[in-house]
Each structure stands twice: as structure tokens, then as C-alpha cells.
Amino acid sequence: MSLRVAVAVICCLFVLVGAASFVVAPEASEPEPAPFDRTVAMGMTLEEQRMLGADRFAPRAQVAYSQFPYVVGYRGIGLAASAVDDPLVEQQFGYPQSVYVEAAPSDVSLDGSGYPVGGYTDEWIPADDAHVVVDSAARTPSGPTQLAFADHERAAEFADEYGGEVVDWDDRGRFDVPTSDGSTARNRVETQHEDADATVEATRELLDRPVGTVVGEDEPTLRAALDTAEANTTILLPQGTYEGPAEVDKPVTIRGSNATIEGDGNGTVLTVTADDVAITGVSIEGVGESLHPDDSSKASDRPAWDRATEEAYGYADAAVTADSVDRLLVTRSEVESPASGIILRDTDRAVVDRVRFEGSDRWQSGFMGVTAIRSPAIVQDSTFDGGRDGVYAHRSSGITIRDNNFIGGRFGTHFMYTSEALFADNCATGQALSGVVIMTSPSGIAIAENVITDTKQGILTSGSDVYVGENVIVGTEQGISTSARNSLYADNAVVGNTVGFRASSIFPTSVVVGNDVVDNDQHVRATSGPLRVWSNDGRGNYWDGAAGLDRRYSPTDPVDGRLHRTGAARTLSDAPIVRGLRTLRGEAPGMRGESVIDAHPRSTPANATRLETAQALADGDATLQGGCGA
């Protein structure tokens, strides 16, 4: 009898608990604020953060999303505000359960640049309780910013002093946030090409100068010619070999005709210290082998992080080094160097055009074809064979690298602290690590219409607002990494790679559409981070194996991921249990791990011509020479 009572009591208890579960609100406890360095943080490039330094700060916010287990940090209150209202973010991560903003220090002031002076307070207040000053003079290196205060009076005082107005979180529509994403970078491609054309045009004028000196006739040596040449004239080098090194310290054009300038195997061959210099039609040899400055006190007025890179890469021996000049053209020339080819430091309007760089056979012993330090140069129609990196860009935002041919080496092009660069119409093949790599979390780089083959990795990204579009990636170990967030990866042909895409950002907010992904051992490898939805507005990608599937497709799924490799996978994929699991997988994607879903896989290739080109390259039916600008 007592057993019977016990069973009855237990049953009643279960019924009660079951009923109570519908009464209790499960989301009663809001997540607490986390230390900022423990959040998945975004906003501001590493360069911008470095520029703020230790005694200035960027206003910060953090958001806990209903489906995402990590707290997300934002450098910029406006950035958090726009993320909270972004439907793409909601689709992936659910709604914001809690939003905190960091209160500005009570004695905050603005310096001459408008940067807030003070430290991080770690005083996190619920966004709804915050008083936010908008439209003031406050800014960070990435643009105008809003400051949050716990105290209305303090906020009003700040607004009195620095302008602006105090508003609530509910008025966040008034936070003036310049919204940007990968499509911004895409839309910039055309104008950046036009701007580059204009710069190239401006440097080409240097080739029209009258001949003032003919070496061998008027002067015995190049050095002597440089000593006596008049400004804005051309020094002509007839066929032959001329001795370097030399310093070009006046605005002249050096025009060779089958001429070789030979250094002494020690140091840099041509050092340019004057504006408006052009070098054309020469071969430069006899470059020294040193990769480092002789004198480490150079560049010492820079902050440590900037100086360290400049010293490490900006003072190697080179064929041509230019420092702090405007308008430089190096064209139709050949460079052979065990170290660097052309080094540009703080150079404006530099154009490297139709240059052939012959570097070391082993990348470990060589250096960069073009090193651009704070120099938004244009590098075009050139060939970089061997050496370490074809182009290495440090803090050279706005640099344009187009129609080049990168062969071998470590990286074809290597972006450090460089935003809004354009890397277009290049070919890269045989790099030991990557065709093109973006490091140090910059923003707004466009990588468009390149062909990358037989490298370890094709395109390796970081940062945000990147556009990776219309590229052909063939025969790599890993085609495209989608580490850059808030970016656009569109219309690429990714064919015959070991891994086509690697999905790796922890907080994926990128759009991946219109890609033709064919004949890779594994179309997508997802490492860290949650489930990503790789389709947008009804547009998806073309995956071989998924054509005609007429349902959502998951390239990371053990069954779907093999559809293009065995017909039997389709039989298994139609099993009721497999279907059942698949059907609802996209619910609450932020809670799922390490996978990718395309809700609208294409039944036909997005760009059949590009795909054919890629397949011909993959099958060996075509060579790069046919498909490259250079």
C-alpha cells in the first residue's frame, strides 16, 4: 500500500513540476557583465587600438545574445547599438538578453584629436540606465563615438563642454554609426581602381622629361651624372653595366636602355630621397644580403609597435629604397635581390609598375619584393618570383596591388595594420603559406578577381568588413578562410582544394553567397565558433553534390559533406532519421557548434565561365599564363 502511495505522490510531483515549468520564466536571470578581455571583442582595427595608446580609451559595450554562449564585446557603443538591431545578427545569435555599456570616467576629457582621455572604468551599467552623449566632438581613430555615463548630470556637463546631446538607449537610432560591411569594400573596388589610374597617370608624366645627361657621353658614371644633372631632366643609360650604389637626391628620371645598375653586393643600390623620381628600363643587381638596419636608432620617434615592424622589415638591403618622398615611379625594370626589392617608407604616390623581382629560392633566406611602410602605393603588372613575400604592406591603408604575378615565396601579399587595400586581378601560385594574407584585424580590404593556385592556403583573412569576391582558388590545401567578420565572401570559384572554405570566426556575421564550390575533398571545414548560415535573402552557393537537392544543405554535415564524392551518400541522406535531424538543425543556430548550413543551395553555378576557368586550371588543361593579368 505504501509503495502505491509513493508512486502516486511521485506522479503528482512530476505533474506539478511539469505544470510549473510553463509558469516559471526560464530567462529570469540576466547574464552578468564579464571582464571585457574575456568577451569575444570586435570593433576598431588593431592599428586603431594601438593608436589610442594607454592613456586614452574607446567607449565599450557588451551584449549577451539568447543563443550564443559567449559574451560579445564591442569597442564603440554605436557599434553595439547597430549590432543589436541587425536582423542578420538576430538570425544567427538570437535576441540580446542583456546589454551593458561601460561608464566613462567621471573626469573624462577630450584631447586635440577628440580622443577621450582617461582609463577604462570597468563600471558596466545596463544600457537602459545609461545616459549617452551623441554628436559631441568625441571620436576614436575609427570615427565619431558616443560616451555613456551612469549619471545624467555628468553626461549633461560633458555635452555642455564638448557639444552634443544626452539621449537614452531607446534613442539609439540617433547614434551616428557609419555602417560598413563587406559590400562597402566591394563598392570601393571600382573607385579605387580609378584613383590608382589617376596616380599612375600622374607619375607617368615623369617619363616625359627631356634628356639632360647621357652617361658614358656627358658623364662617366651614374653617380657623376646624378651629381650634375639638372632637376626635371632625364639621365639616359645606354646599353651596358653601371656601378652603384647611388643616391637619387634630385627630381630626375633615370632611363635605361638595356642597362644594368650593379651594386657592390653590400647595402642598397639606389636610395631615393627626392620627390618626383622615376626609374625605368634598368636591371638592378648586386644588392646586399642584410635584412636588418645597421643602425637600430632609425625610426625611433615612432611608438614601439610601429617601430618594431618598421625596423624588422623596412631597412633591409634593397634594389631601390625610398624614404619620405612624393611621386615615385619604378617601371619596366628588373630587380634581382637576395634581400628586398623595393622599399617604400612614408612615400606618397609611389607606383611600382611592370617590375620583375627575382628573389631568393628559399623564402626563409630572402625578403620582400615590395615593402610598403606607411606608403599607400600602387603595385601593378609586376612579377614577384621567389623571396619571402611578394608585397609586404605595413600601415599602408589604401594601397592598391593589381595585375601582378606572384610565384613561390611565403605569402604572395602580406597585409599588416593595413586597411582599405585593394588586391585585384593578381595571380599567385606556389606560396608556401598563403597567396594573400590579412593580419592584425584591419578593415575594409577588397580581394577581388584574383587567381590563386597550388598554395598551402589561398586567402587568409582577419579583421572585418572585408570583400573577398570573384576569385578563383584552385589546388590549395585550404582555399578561403572566413575569419574576417562582417564581411562579404561572394562569387568565388573554389575548385579542387583539400578544404574549400574554412569557417573559423567565433562570432560569424559574414555573408557567404554566390560561390561555386566544386570538387574539393572537403567543401567546408568548420573549426571554432557556432553554426553559420551561408545564405542570405534567398541566395546561397553552388556546391557540387548539392545541385538539384532542393533543400537546405550542410557542407559540414557528415552525410551532406560526402554527397559530391559518393552516390550512396544521397541514399543515406534520404533516410528518415537523417532527414529528421537535418530539418530542424537551423533552429537556434547560435547554440550549435562548428557547422555551416546553406539554406538556399543553388542548382546551377553562379558563374559558369569562372567555374570553367577554375576547373581547367584544376585539371591541368590551362595554365596561369592564360588567365592572369601579368
Binding site: 502516486a8 506522479c11 515549468s21 539568447s66 554562449p69 537523417v578 530542424l584 538543425r585 537556434a588
Partner: protein
């Protein structure tokens, strides 16, 4: 013997029948294996309670009716093969039906709920993200949601159990009982959804009433309630189903089925229907004569 005592005795007899039948235990273990396999393949268990519920939802839509039919189709035949013996108990028909139903429902709750509880315990141990680098939080996920899921699943089972029992009183032989049980299974698993689908195709059901109409199909009601009250908490997107219609739908099937059992338990199976058909043909014949 009071009415309650009578009910209790019958219910206890049914619970003991379920407990003594080893194959039910085996069924429960089998379910656990299926759940484990499903979650292993789906990966929901690492995600937390909500992804787990999402992964299990469709298998449960099939398996819960199966278990309910297995428990219900011979409630008044087979194991209790002598219906007159049951009816000879000194209890009212209502107490008798309630007792058999509740006893079997407890069995059903144990067979399905046991493995689900084990799954819930596993989620609490290994579910959710952990990171040494990043601060983590639960998000909208909560054990409360899994309890809701469990409760909804048992309620769904309860409704199908009642339907299976109703089918079993309509037939006399155990072979016919099996067929009737399977018919319930087909109706529950496919019938309602198929009707809704056909209705949509024929434009007979408008978008505005779809959420309400789905409430009439037991498994759609169950699925809708899970999406609404468990998964919907994370997505903040409601409208998976008209909740009151779904609850009313499930309650309706339950009440009607149990009512049918009470009414039909001491009658000749199909007697009414046979009479009805006879009357109908008679009238039609008469009408044709005229």
C-alpha cells in the same frame, strides 16, 4: 469500496502489468539508445537543452505514438483479454476506464520519460559552451525548457494512448486490435498533417487560420507547442502555432477518446456503427424506391 479505491486498485494493477512486462523495459532501453544515437549524430547535446529538444523532436513524433499504441491497443483485450472480468469489478465504468488509463499512462511516462530524464542529466553535465578564453553564459537555454519539453512529450503520449485505447474498445479480437492500433498510429503520425497539407494545397485553409487548424492534428499540436514554448524562447519568434487551439486540440482528442472508451467498453463492438449503416442503407433504399 469507494470510487477512489476502485480507481486506485485498477490503476495499480495496470502499473504492475507494465512493470512486470520485461519487453517494456527493453523498449525503454531501446529508446534511450535511439536518443543517444540521434543526439550523437545531431550534436545537439553539446549545444544545450534547446538544441537537444530540437534534435529529439522529430524522432519523438514517431516514437511516442508507437509506444502509446503499444501500451494502449490491448488495454481491453490481450493482456486484459477478458473484458467481462474487468467489467465484473465492483467499480463504475468511469473509475475502471480512468484506472486503466492512468495506470498505463504512468507506464508510458516511465518508458519515455526515463530515457529523456537521462538525456536531460547528460545535457546538464556536458551541454553548453565552456571556454578558458571567453566569458560564457547560458543564453536563453535552461533546464526549465527541457522540463517543458518532457511534459509536452508525455502529454502528447497521453493523448495518443487514449486514442489507442478508444480504438481497442471498438474491436474485439486482438488481431483487429493491432490493426486498429496501427490505424491510430498512421492517423496520428501522418493523417492530420496530410489533411492540413491538402487543405493548404487546395486553398481550403487560409494562412491566417493555419496555426489554429494545426491544433486539431495531435502531432502538429505537439510540434507547434514545442517550437513555441521551448525553441521559441531562444529565437523570440512566436507564432509557431495557436497555443490555445493546440491545447484545446490535444485536450479534445483526449476527452473524446476517453469518452468513447467509457461509452464503448460494455457494448458490442461496432454495434452502433452497424446499426447506423443498416439504417442508412434502409433509408437510401427507401428513397430510391420512391
Amino acid at each position: 469500496m469507494s470510487r477512489f479505491q476502485g480507481f486506485g486498485a485498477v490503476a495499480w494493477r495496470e502499473v504492475r502489468t507494465v512493470v512486470r512486462t520485461r519487453s517494456y523495459l527493453l523498449l525503454s532501453v531501446g529508446l534511450l539508445a535511439v536518443f543517444a544515437g540521434t543526439l550523437r549524430a545531431g550534436g545537439g547535446i553539446e549545444g544545450g537543452y534547446i538544441p537537444t529538444a530540437v534534435d529529439l523532436l522529430l524522432p519523438l513524433e514517431l516514437l511516442v505514438p508507437l509506444v502509446a499504441v503499444a501500451l494502449g491497443y490491448r488495454a481491453f483485450g490481450g493482456e486484459n483479454d477478458d473484458r467481462p472480468v474487468l467489467l465484473s469489478y465492483p467499480v463504475s465504468k468511469g473509475s475502471l476506464v480512468a484506472g486503466v488509463y492512468v495506470g498505463r499512462l504512468i507506464g508510458l511516462a516511465g518508458i519515455i520519460g526515463g530515457p529523456l530524464l537521462a538525456v536531460g542529466a547528460a545535457v546538464s553535465r556536458i551541454g553548453g559552451a565552456e571556454s578558458r578564453v571567453f566569458a560564457t553564459h547560458q543564453g536563453a537555454d535552461s533546464p526549465v525548457l527541457f522540463v517543458r519539453f518532457l511534459a509536452l512529450t508525455v502529454c502528447f503520449g497521453a493523448v495518443v494512448l487514449a486514442m489507442a485505447m478508444a480504438a481497442s474498445v471498438l474491436v474485439r479480437t486482438s488481431r483487429a486490435a493491432l490493426a486498429a492500433g496501427l490505424a491510430v498510429l498512421v492517423v496520428v503520425v501522418a493523417g492530420g498533417d496530410l489533411l492540413a497539407f491538402l487543405g493548404l494545397t487546395a486553398d481550403a485553409i487560409g494562412e491566417d487560420v493555419l496555426g489554429t487548424v494545426l491544433g486539431a492534428s495531435p502531432n502538429s499540436a505537439y510540434r507547434g507547442l514545442v517550437l513555441e514554448s521551448v525553441v521559441g524562447v531562444a529565437t523570440d519568434q512566436g507564432g509557431a502555432i495557436d497555443v490555445s487551439a493546440a491545447v484545446a486540440g490535444l485536450a479534445g482528442w483526449l476527452v473524446v477518446s476517453l469518452g468513447a472508451v467509457v461509452v464503448g467498453i460494455d457494448r458490442e463492438p461496432f454495434a452502433g456503427i452497424r446499426t447506423g449503416i443498416g439504417e442508412l442503407t434502409g433509408r437510401v433504399a427507401g428513397a430510391l424506391d420512391r
